[in-house]
């Protein structure tokens, strides 16, 4: 089925030019990066912009950089770029473990991690991992630059704090704890193309401080701070995992939908949280499964 809606296409060569076009068209403009969501939404009629602004002509937006303990991911970095990056593999392997579980190769080659959080579906794979890394979203708009903490970024299903006329120009995070272990556990119906039914990201530091986030069990990806506080400083014993499991109901609000029932989601959350914590701690201590493993 062809795309019925007609729109203009512009490909600015600079950020200034992009911001000018976005300011001119406001809500009528839609930013295009990988297009794996945008083109599908254009086709099914969910969006009908006056103008599509392709940002792939702007230099320097596809960088993955690290300086000291800081990691920067540009807005045109695809999931395949993350997978192929030595820097990511060596120093931020949780991003690798997440990226290999996104859809299929043909999508990962095109889809960007920034686009993933701009689409902001509750099951987005990047959400939980960016939450445990306490990422900041760097935004450029007509009034200049601003930064939004990832905790404040997701405002509802498919909704974000990004305002009309603004463009995300990168993700930044600092891993203050160099020694940490992480895990990303994703439940899907089949391998290759599915959205998460439930996802769990865990990051643990050498003093057993945990960051835990969930996807697809509420209107947005969610950080589980009460759960984190309850298990802080503890190794993953049976007692600790029992405590962690008890906090799942307080931290999540899953629904029954076409992909899974509430009961199934909650049950799998318990299983996946335990495996995620165990894997993250094992990796912290130099063991555990290789990054990229499925865990379930």
């Amino acid at each position: 089925m062809p795309i019925a809606h007609e729109f203009d296409y512009v490909k600015p060569a600079s950020l200034d030019e992009a911001i000018a076009v976005l300011a001119e068209h406001g809500e009528g403009a839609r930013v295009l990066a990988g297009g794996t969501d945008v083109v599908a939404l254009l086709r099914n009629g969910a969006i009908a912009p006056e103008v599509v602004v392709d940002v792939k002509g702007i230099e320097g937006l596809a960088d993955i950089q690290s300086a000291g303990d800081r990691l920067f991911i540009g807005p045109l970095v695809t999931f395949s770029d993350l997978i192929e990056s030595e820097l990511i593999r060596k120093r931020f392997p949780l991003f690798y473990e997440m990226a290999v579980k996104v859809a299929s190769k043909g999508i990962r080659n095109r889809a960007t991690i920034v686009g993933n959080i701009c689409s902001a579906v509750p099951s987005c794979d990047a959400g939980p991992v960016l939450l445990v890394y306490e990422a900041r979203v760097l935004i450029l708009g007509p009034g200049g630059e601003r930064t939004v903490h990832i905790d404040e970024w997701f405002t509802g299903p498919k909704k974000t704090d990004l305002q009309s006329g603004e463009l995300v120009v990168g993700l930044e995070m600092s891993s203050s704890v160099q020694v940490c272990g992480g895990s990303y556990v994703k439940l899907g119906r089949y391998r290759g193309e599915d959205l998460a039914q439930v996802s769990v990201a865990v990051l643990v530091s050498s003093d057993y401080e945990y960051h835990v986030a969930f996807g697809a069990v509420g209107p947005t990806p969610v950080r589980a701070r009460k759960l984190e506080a309850a298990i802080k400083g503890d190794k993953p014993t049976d007692e600790m995992l029992e405590v962690a499991r008890k906090f799942i109901v307080r931290e999540t609000s899953p629904i029954t939908d076409i992909r899974a029932t509430v009961e199934y989601r909650v049950h799998m959350l318990e299983v996946m949280l335990e495996r995620g914590i165990r894997a993250a701690v094992a990796r912290l201590n130099g063991g555990g499964p290789e990054y990229g493993t499925r865990h379930i």
């Binding site: 203009d8 295009l32 297009g35 083109v39 859809a103 080659n109 095109r110 193309e193």
Partner: protein
Amino acid sequence: MKHSITLNVNGEEWDVDVAPNETLLEVLRERIGIKSPKVGCETGDCGACTVILDGKTVRSCLVLAVEADGHGVLTVEALSKDGPNELQQMFIDRNSFQCGFCAPGIVLAVSELLATNPSPTEDEVKEAIAGNLCRCTGYTPIVEAVMEFVGKDEA
């Protein structure tokens, strides 16, 4: 407004005027006459429209033709200018496909894998084609053919 774009398709330059809402898949099939990429789900799920864009497989149903201006596209037509290549011949010998609708996408997905990983494990082959749905074969003869091609078959 129409955009005049240049596509390099299987080594040939094509100048085409396209509307912004025309996809690469439509332009390849309807304007250039390359029919191997298939119109399947048109949501990026099935992989039947797979082409190689600048060396990487993409869903051509999710790429606007105007985005591909100045870029290079490869389809299976490029692989088989002098008859089936060795990988394609292996699929033929193994009778890997039935209806063939998914075949162009799977051939390209496997070609992309082998270009960077000439000796993949069975699991790596399955991952490479995980986004290419086949409703005939259950995938077994496809994976077996690739494993035989890379010299790792157990038969």
